[in-house]
Assembly symmetry: C2
Homo-oligomer: 452 residues x 2
Amino acid sequence: MSRKTSLSGFHEWLPEERLVELHVLNTLAEVFELHGFSNIETRAVETLGTLLRKGEIDKEVYTVSRIHETDAPDPADTSRLALHFDLTVPFARYVIENAGHLNFPFRRYQIQKVWRGERPQEGRAREFTQADIDVVGDGALDFRHDIDVALVMAEALSKLPIGQFIIRINNRKLAEGFYRGIGLDDTAGVLRNIDKLEKIGAEEVSKALQEELGASAEQAELALALAQIRTEDSSFADQVRALGVEDELLEEGIQELAEVIDQLHKRVPGTAVADLSIARGLDYYTGTVYETNLVGHEQLGSICSGGRYDALATKGKRSFPGVGLSIGVTRLITRMFSQDMVEATRKVPTAVYVALTSDEDWSAAQDVAQQLRSRGINTEVATKAEKFGKQIRHADRRGIPYVWFTNFDNGQTIHEVKDIRTGEQVAADPTAWMPPAEDLQAMILNTVQHND
Amino acid sequence: MSRKTSLSGFHEWLPEERLVELHVLNTLAEVFELHGFSNIETRAVETLGTLLRKGEIDKEVYTVSRIHETDAPDPADTSRLALHFDLTVPFARYVIENAGHLNFPFRRYQIQKVWRGERPQEGRAREFTQADIDVVGDGALDFRHDIDVALVMAEALSKLPIGQFIIRINNRKLAEGFYRGIGLDDTAGVLRNIDKLEKIGAEEVSKALQEELGASAEQAELALALAQIRTEDSSFADQVRALGVEDELLEEGIQELAEVIDQLHKRVPGTAVADLSIARGLDYYTGTVYETNLVGHEQLGSICSGGRYDALATKGKRSFPGVGLSIGVTRLITRMFSQDMVEATRKVPTAVYVALTSDEDWSAAQDVAQQLRSRGINTEVATKAEKFGKQIRHADRRGIPYVWFTNFDNGQTIHEVKDIRTGEQVAADPTAWMPPAEDLQAMILNTVQHND
């Protein structure tokens, strides 16, 4: 895990680490499909015009050009290609392009690499994998999907070997209505400052609200009082109302957040809180917003974030509202490795290594291997009849648990299989033998405690 | 399938097409793991220096730069980043970097996108997926791996819904030894011309050999005679020897190719031929070379190619020989779609759609869904209690085969499930009901005949 990468910010895993990543990705895909999400992939590149549409090109985007183009790039040319920096913008473009072929509400999951040219630092990579789910409607999208996507992610995260997590949920309508109700109209400005609460503390935020946004001390105090509310059920609503602010949008937000948190509290207790400090940077969120922390690893930042947007995409007068969440898989896995939260039971997929007694037995050994493989047992065959000790050491070094021996004695074929961890060697039938279930595939062992 | 892509050369699949691609990728991964191959992924970018190492930068490489770099690129700067154009060069770099952490022979598979800025045309994309297997040794690699990788690919391809295929195998030693034996020392030059045999015909190749390489008419005739040999077993050897050429390297090549083709003929009859016209463009192959055609789709070119290289990578005095094969997944899948070779039984992963009788039943419907999901049944829940006809039409339009109804009558809960294809509706227990096996997952139907 302390290996240096040859390009800063670009992680590459060893085969045994990739086993852990595959376990995570397969678990996520399985849960997403259990909930009826269809998989898609979008191309790695978008035009700068598409990436700019959301106004968020302050990210360090990687542009792409053919090697024989040797002119200096024209910064104003929005037809230039660039690598996508998230999966939301490409998905919005995909929905618009394929709207006529999709059925709405469209439930999709997408697991792909994204690229950002930012300065690499802890928890930030230049190439990393995201796993996104979104539900998108055509014109309208029922509010219950806001609950649904959070339930799906709670289930998915609970099946990963990552220990306890907390999904922290807020609602933009609630925040905007409240700020408006106390006379602060620059919602984005207030949110931007509230977002710094964990980093710089209440006093500094209060000062900034007053100095930057011209808030009164009382307004700042109320905004901060709201941000400090945090409950596991809908009791936050009484606490908000006790602050004495009245606003229609605020009330709508309270009711939405109450419904989300009540259902989560009921169905997946202990995994979610209503947390009125959650701001989320992106401008396009319009309702529920989510962030997720790993308990004990809060400084890692959010590992799963998202929200509701009234217009994920628009096509003429047609608007596509959506709600979704995105897991930062690479950030999560890097942490799992650096904190020794997981280990694989072996380094290779192989369960059985078929040894050779003589070089002429190779084809017969392939027959044995094929019989084992027909029952789903991952099997390799030796290529040379080296001394058994050497063949066993080769399997052992690679973490293969079993070695298979075949002897041809006086026209009789004798099969034996050795567990090289215990040394036990027993007679075995290649058409029937099975390893114990826990040895069939490399397994990922969880060394931390979980939510349930 | 006739949809236009918004960026030429960059394919994106609809969800139901992606189901077919996932089926192909999962089948390949399963077979590779059954044979003990470990999965890795390498980063998308390499330095130009790494990509240039094999001398093959005549490809249209995509370079990558941060958006705020506005200077013209310096063509001589080999530290510039570029997207990889295959998986072999990145793998060689990965082996060198991680040699101390890997166990040899190292069996790896790698399924990733690669990028080439070439002019898009039939069968050529600018972004496409490759699936590679390679076995790499440290210093030496037993010849039997040349047979092994071909057996693995024959098994993998036979499990795909692509119909008949033929792996065409040749040996560089055989070709080089033969050309040398008849007095033609420019092996690369001869191979380059022989490679055009299918495109331009024997007469033109003969002319080119004489005009370009100064071959005599007799030499050209012999080179062409060799290239026309094609047998399903090792009988090619007699045909080669009948040409009367003697050379040590030629004999070594004949023996290697005979061993490969005899084992393939024995273990996977009908899927491989010794084809002495196979040249393979890349310079670094040093022994066995492979190409694969889809029967009836020969003009598509090779769908699975590769070979043996004595030095896949070198690190100081240490050399890593390898042998491997690469499937052009996107090329294959594009063909499968354009020729209607496959279809998915439905468009979404979902098997059951839980309808709502009243809006208040949503949480109870989630309970039903969770019971079904616990047995691996992909399930969605309606968000609104619209008329049953409307809920059924919604499921039908998305290709979901079953709709689940729950009625609460006088304190009694009645569950029923409807197969919306037949209209049959029966009582069902959410803790026990299972759909028929063929409805559990979306299945890929093969509409063409197969090798076996």
